[in-house]
Amino acid sequence: MTATEPKPRIGVVVFPGSNDDRDAAHALAGLGAEPAPVWHAEAALPEVAAIVLPGGFSYGDYLRCGAIARFAPVMDAVSKFAAEGGLVLGICNGFQVLCEAGLLPGTLRPNASLSFVCRDVALRVERADTPFTSRCEPGQRLTIPVKHGEGCYFADEVLLAELEAAGQIALRYEENPNGSTADVAGVVNEAGNVFGLMPHPEHAVDPLLGSSDGALVLGSLVESARARLLAAA
């Protein structure tokens, strides 16, 4: 990035119980974006080039993970933003919220192992042509940590066949940590502007943390958001 390139403003939604919002903001800032926290009770979004729904335990994960958060006032604005083609990234709990909100297909269930998993996992990039993976190579192997108790992606046979046919499975686990259907780690919507994944790219943006592969995902988002900003200008 050169000094003349604009910093895209990226909103990070904060629900009661979000706990990775500041990590996400820190990572985005380090990758050349201007993060802007967005409180869940806001009915409108500020002027942003993209939105991130961070990890955590929104509303205590009551009923089902993400089930209550999808009714937060800000989610109407996020749905509208997504419908207009805005870039939306959901990480972990954010992925669960996007599924509950119907912005992404499928749902996340308790891990098949019954255990909370918290460790680095190896992922395979299936789609490098999305706004969230454009800095990756097709088939590239990424190391990014997961930390979740309910990350078992579920889609029935009909839905899975649709996702496979449409190429919506953007990331897969090389070694499945939670029992997800077809090793799904991350899914894009049909239009390609909404992406959810269980692994935490914001925790892997510095070699000191064991891996900086997460920067490829978040860096793709920042770059795509910047491109949209320039195109709109």
Partner: protein
């Protein structure tokens, strides 16, 4: 309302409880765990109450991808 995992959906919680029941010596063949939601409505017509409860299940209380629900209405 009774909300439970649909047949064929993996229920790890049920499996964990089943293995504990077996350790206690009960010959349990299958265990599925759902949840019960009890609520009170001030509605005169039980059929209207049932229709409203159905909408609640469809919109929030159950995830239709993985869960089914049953409704019981008991007038006070």
């Amino acid at each position: 309302m009774l909300v439970r995992p649909k047949p064929g959906i993996l229920d790890p919680q049920g499996e964990a409880v089943q293995s504990s029941l077996r350790q206690l010596g009960f010959a349990v063949e299958d265990t599925r765990i759902g949840k019960v939601v009890d609520l009170e409505l001030r509605v005169d017509d039980p059929e209207r109450a049932r229709a409203e409860l159905e909408r609640m299940c469809e919109q929030l209380l159950a995830n239709p991808l993985i869960e089914s629900f049953e409704i019981t209405v008991s007038p006070e």
